[in-house]
């Protein structure tokens, strides 16, 4: 996808705002032509001593100016709507794709870097659209102003603009180098931003280990690298800028050099010379603006590429679609997606599931097993055996290379959007809450009564904790749930899962932050209340293993064995090793 097609999509998304802006800005850019002509006439009148012409020309120039200012104010209002709509559209579309589009989604560089794309790359694309809005007005101005100059003196116009064209060609050649510098600068910025984000995420660890000094010295170091990158970038672009800015002076100098004799003998009038002096700065300025726009095009291409990379598989049309931002709508009752066909689970089959990380030995290969309705299946194995990867692959959270998952014997086309409530719900190994109330974190927008929420909390053995919270369900959990303890975050996530009433519950190591009694209570309540629920549990604890109808033993990304605890203990040394070390 070339960046050249971006404008077409955005125009289609915001046709009215775009057209209004193009017209307003074109008028704004062209008006100085008439103002300039009136001013040149005024200077001519001064030289010839024509006081009446001087006054009338100046009044005309003033009128043009007033009109231009009115246009400007209108155009700014129009543009501010256009600008903010387009950046919000792009941000909305990006977030929406990440949150709701089918298929697995893996963030290429983590969540902090993703925010950089949301912020800077979107702005870059929006800036490019700003150029598109301006370009027609500027082209018309250059065309008309060039025409007036040509009328005054074809020879001077040609020789004045020739060095400008040459200089622009030179800056075009320097472009790839500038781009490399810019890219280096961006990477350096991203390193700093990511590091700052990581640091604030790990404040507790840093303070506990008293490594503030190390953190700060590393920050100093990457700051310095970014500084150097920024300086190189600035130096070169400033030199080029002064070079292009100087072009109007070169052009004026050429006019003076070649026009000296004409001026002396009257072939070139003072009014005509003024026309050159008034128009040359603008004409050369706009010409270098066109070159700058080409450079922006490259940057836009890179930025848009990064936006597409972040989504994984979205197309330009997806990211630039102009669906309403929903400002005017009344807040609708919360809608959580739920599966349309509600054929409840009879059997889930996993066949030959394979997923390998790019550039890493980890992953899973050729994993198969089945879950009958109402069964309790435990996935166990050592660290790095692929347990979490397996459930993530099964749920369609990472892109599998091979294999399929069957729901009641039928292959699931897109697991990511199929395995959601009320079919399936999931608690990740490290659950993430968001800075909203506890209630909102649990309901995730599902319409639920307090009673239902409390029931889910009770199943998750969380009621006691909530009772002790001053604000109860309204407690703000803080950024990423930091105000809750690790166990409370785990149990809130479990409550969130129970609240969905899904057929299949997937627990990734839910027990890790729970003590043995809390865990016991949790299983006990779950089986009391939902006898027919199907559970897939990553665990290595005896209570879970004992309860399991079947155990999937993973080793180095492969299934080492599937069976009951006794069968596996009989047949597998690996299982015995794991079992011996558990309580």
């Amino acid at each position: 996808m070339r960046a050249i097609r971006i404008p077409a999509y955005l125009i289609r998304a915001l046709p009215v705002l775009f057209s209004v802006n193009v017209v307003l800005w074109a008028v704004f850019h062209v008006l100085p032509l008439y103002m300039g002509k009136a001013m040149a006439a005024a200077i001519g009148a001064i030289e010839s001593g024509d006081a009446d012409l001087l006054v009338s020309s100046l009044l005309l120039a003033g009128a043009w100016l007033l009109g231009r200012l009115l246009f400007f104010e209108t155009a700014v209002v129009a543009y501010s709507h256009f600008w903010h709509r387009k950046i919000l559209l792009m941000r909305r579309n990006l977030l929406e794709w990440l949150m709701t589009a089918p298929k697995a989604r893996v963030l290429p560089k983590g969540s902090s870097a993703a925010v950089t794309t949301f912020r800077e790359d979107v702005d870059q694309v929006a800036n490019y659209m700003e150029d598109i809005v301006d370009v027609s007005g500027l082209v018309i101005f250059v065309w008309l102003a060039g025409g007036s100059l040509y009328e005054a003196s074809p020879r001077l116009t040609f020789w004045a603009l020739l060095p400008v064209a040459v200089a622009l060609a030179v800056t075009l050649l320097a472009r790839p180098y500038i781009r490399r510098l810019r890219e280096r600068m961006r990477t350096a910025t991203e390193t700093v931003t990511t590091f700052i984000g990581d640091t604030f995420g790990a404040v507790e660890t840093i303070k506990a280990t008293h490594r503030e000094a190390g953190i700060l010295s590393h920050l100093k170091q990457i700051n310095l690298l970014r500084n150097q990158a920024a300086l190189r970038d600035t130096l070169l672009s400033e030199l080029l800028r002064s070079f292009t800015r100087n072009m109007s002076h070169v052009a004026t100098g050429v006019v003076l050099l070649l026009g000296a004799n004409d001026l002396r003998n009257g072939t070139l009038t003072v009014a005509e010379l003024s026309l050159f002096l008034i128009f040359l700065p603008r004409v050369t300025g706009y010409m270098s603006w066109f070159v700058e726009m080409l450079a922006q095009y490259q940057g836009t291409h890179v930025s848009f590429g990064r936006m597409l990379d972040l989504t994984g598989d979205a197309t330009a049309a997806d990211l630039l679609n102009g669906r309403s931002l929903g400002f005017g709508d009344n807040p609708k009752p919360a809608k959580a997606e739920s599966a349309t066909s509600t054929a409840s689970l009879a059997q889930l089959d996993v066949r030959g599931l394979t997923y390998t990380y790019a550039g890493d030995a980890g992953g899973i290969s050729d994993v198969s097993f089945s879950l009958p309705r109402g069964s309790f299946t435990v996935i166990t194995g050592r660290v790095g055996a692929g347990k979490s990867t397996l459930v993530r692959a099964l749920l369609g959270l990472v892109p599998t290379q091979e294999g399929e998952v069957l729901w009641n014997g039928q292959e699931i086309e897109d697991r990511t959007t199929f395995l959601i409530p009320p079919r399936s719900a999931y608690t990740p190994q490290v659950p993430q809450l968001v800075s909203e109330s506890l209630r909102r974190n649990i309901t995730m927008g599902r319409p639920m009564t307090d009673e239902q929420v409390n029931k889910a909390l009770s199943m998750a053995v969380m009621s006691h904790d909530v009772d002790r919270m001053e604000q109860g369900l309204k407690t703000k959990v803080g950024s990423r749930g930091i105000r809750l303890s690790g166990g409370q975050v785990q149990r809130s996530a479990a409550a969130r899962m129970f609240a969905t009433d899904a057929d299949l519950l997937v627990f990734d190591d839910l027990s890790s932050a729970l003590d043995i009694h809390t865990e016991s209570a949790l299983w006990e309540r779950l089986f009391q209340q939902r006898a027919d629920v199907t559970c897939l549990v990553v665990s290595h604890r005896r209570p879970a293993l004992i309860r399991a109808d079947q155990i999937v033993l993973m080793s180095e990304g492969k299934v080492a064995g599937v069976g009951t605890l006794d069968e596996l203990l009989n047949d597998h040394q690996e299982m015995r090793a794991l079992w011996d070390e558990t309580t």
Binding site: M39, A42, I43, A45, I46, E47, L58, R68, F72, V77, L88, L95, M99, S111, S112, F118, I196, G197, D198, T199, F200, G201, I206, A208, T209, E212, G214, I215, S217, L219, R226, A230, S242, H249, V250, L256, L273, L325, F327, P331, R382, V383, L419, Y426, L433, G445, E470, S479, I482, S485, M497, T500, S512, I516, H517, S520, E524, R542, A577, T583
Partner: protein
């Protein structure tokens, strides 16, 4: 441009600028030289026009035109150089600020970070401060040269005609008054816009971090629904802010364009009076033009400047946020194992919230291994956080090695008391950087031996560059079990007298757990240890057991004694070994 009211907190910058006096002086020198030449070039043009109209020899005219060309080249060169030095100052200062605010933030309570999202913090420490850098690299240079130009233009014109000089002076006053009047006008609008944009990014960052939770539980639509009002608020504020600021732009365009017309009008009138030459009209017009360019740039960057004023204010506010834990201690903890005394300690996170710990007292001797048990939420984590002094108790005192924590220096406390937190966070960086947390002074072999000691030897051998392999980008390539072990290696590097392990066994499978247990025994040998554990196995080697529930001590005593009497601990052992479940927690 004196600070009239007070939105511009320049005092934040002063010490950082003083550090760079030389660069500042160089930047100023080139600004001065560039502006001087810039004043001279239009004079050359005026002379040229007058000479041409006066039929002077062609050779003289050609010479003037050539000088004109060279002088204008030199002007631009000097400008580029001064911008370069300005950029160096700007980046230097902003790096200092970024460093200082990060340094300061690291002294704040962990609670502060609970209330501020990561995205918003990045916006504070990077976004705001980058804006400050931009202001210095471009705006400051432009502003200073504009002022020099304004004064110089007034002076040159005054020599040709008192009236022309007066006209310029009036224009200068109008421009300066206008800019001073409007400068702070839009600061507030810009600040609001930026505040709400930080909210937008904070929202996005959190949701993106929780992507799996959201998708697998079908909450994507809900997220988008919550996003809509945030976008709407941002849109309204941002549009209003632009429109407020547009009055400044329209004003400056108006003033300069009108200035050109006025220059020609006044010049024309003076020529018709016979007091100045036609060349002087060109001079006046060119001077107006000369002003327009830099000042148009200034107004363009005025919005950046306004953002930076807001940024500076927020930076200052940030620097004035104080930790609630006051670090006044100077005492050093002794070497070797440390005793612990907790005396009548109560704690609540907020004044108006319920207490998490209630009048807890305990005393353990140096070298004791204490197993901390109890239901989640019972106050175990809070107690250890008070011992590590993340917070100060609401009532009561905690002493380590006989010294109250309020008297112990932070450095001594943090190096003598090791704390393995529940929540393991990795950095985008190498294994080494993650284990030492970017401390370059720790020798490589010590890092490597720590990593091996916690049982990650095989894992390390599989990495292409050993401890210098980059890990942690999106946590790819590190399972959370491995992350847990890495966190353990971090504690290994210290030589603490008191070790607090908050749920060290979480997310580690039994096989790895065995490795960790042996490593743990080596780490805790000869040291006082507090282990929060949910698995009874973890406290097998403990000397004493403490059971907390509802913020109070349920049981505290010798492990073997408790195990062999009718105690809560004994009942936990029997429940666990039989594999049966007990409803509820320890109290029910």
């Amino acid at each position: 441009m004196a600070t009239k009211r007070e939105p511009l907190r320049l005092e934040v910058l002063v010490p950082h600028l003083k550090k760079r006096q030389g660069l500042v002086a160089l930047a100023l020198l080139f600004i001065l030289a560039g502006s001087g030449l810039e004043l001279w070039v239009p004079v050359l043009l005026a002379t040229f026009v007058d000479d041409a109209l006066g039929r002077q020899p062609l050779a003289d005219l050609t010479q003037l035109a050539a000088i004109y060309l060279i002088a204008s080249f030199a002007t631009q060169g000097f400008k580029a150089i001064s911008t370069y030095f300005g950029t160096r100052v700007g980046w230097g200062v902003s790096n200092d600020l970024r460093f200082a605010s990060t340094e300061h933030l690291l002294t704040l309570d962990t609670d502060y970070f609970a209330e501020t999202s990561q995205g918003a913090l990045i916006e504070r420490v990077d976004g705001d401060i980058t804006t400050i850098a931009k202001v210095f690299s471009h705006f400051a240079v432009q502003l200073i040269s504009s002022i020099i130009l304004l004064v110089g233009i007034f002076w040159v014109l005054f020599q040709r005609s008192g009236f022309a000089g007066l006209m310029m002076a009036v224009l200068v006053v109008v421009i300066v008054t206008f800019m001073a009047a409007t400068r702070s006008l839009a600061v507030k609008a810009a600040e609001e816009e930026r505040g709400i944009s930080a909210r937008v990014y904070g929202f996005i960052e959190e949701r993106v971090a929780a992507i799996d939770d959201i998708r697998a539980n079908g909450a994507g639509g809900y997220v988008m629904q919550r996003f809509a009002p945030i976008m709407h608020r941002y849109y309204n504020k941002a549009v209003a802010s632009w429109i407020k600021r547009s009055f400044i732009w329209v004003g400056s365009i108006g003033i300069f364009s009108a200035g050109g017309i006025i220059a020609i009008a006044v010049g024309g009138w003076l020529v018709l009076q016979g007091s100045v030459t036609v060349g002087t009209v060109f001079l006046m017009y060119q001077y107006m033009l000369k002003l327009e360019d830099p000042i148009e740039q200034v107004t363009q960057q005025l919005s950046e400047f306004q953002k930076s004023a807001a940024g500076l204010r927020r930076t200052k506010e940030l620097m004035e946020t104080n930790p609630t834990v006051e670090r006044v201690g100077v005492s050093e903890l002794p070497n070797g194992a440390l005793s612990l005394d907790v005396s009548k300690v109560s704690f609540a996170y907020e004044e108006d919230e319920g207490t998490v710990l209630n009048n807890v007292s305990l005393s353990i001797k140096a070298g004791t291994k204490l197993g901390l048990l109890g239901r989640t939420g019972g106050g175990k984590s809070t107690l250890t956080k008070l011992i590590a002094r993340f917070f100060d108790p609401t009532q009561g005192t905690v002493s380590i090695g006989g010294i109250p924590l309020t008297e112990v220096s932070t450095h001594s406390l943090r190096t003598k008391v090791a704390f393995v937190t529940q929540d393991v966070r990795l950095f985008a960086g190498t294994v080494r950087q993650n284990v030492t947390i970017f401390d370059p002074t720790v020798p490589d072999d010590l890092v490597e031996s720590s990593v091996r000691a916690v049982g990650l030897g095989d894992w390390l051998d599989r990495l292409p560059n050993g401890i210098h392999t980059a890990i942690g980008v999106g946590d790819i390539g590190v399972s959370s079990g491995e992350a847990q072990l890495l966190a353990f290696a971090r504690a290994y590097l210290r030589d603490p007298g008191l070790v607090i392990l908050d749920e060290p066994s979480s997310r580690v499978d039994p096989a790895t757990e065995a490795l960790l247990t042996s490593a743990m025994e080596r780490l805790t040998a000869g040291r006082t240890t507090i282990i929060i554990a949910h698995r009874l196995d973890t406290v097998r080697s403990a000397d004493e057991i403490l059971i907390l529930d509802d913020g109070a001590i349920v049981e505290h005593g010798n492990r073997d004694h408790l195990a062999n009497t009718d105690s809560v601990f004994a009942s936990m052992i029997s429940a666990a070994s039989s594999g049966t479940f007990r409803q509820g927690g320890v109290k029910r």
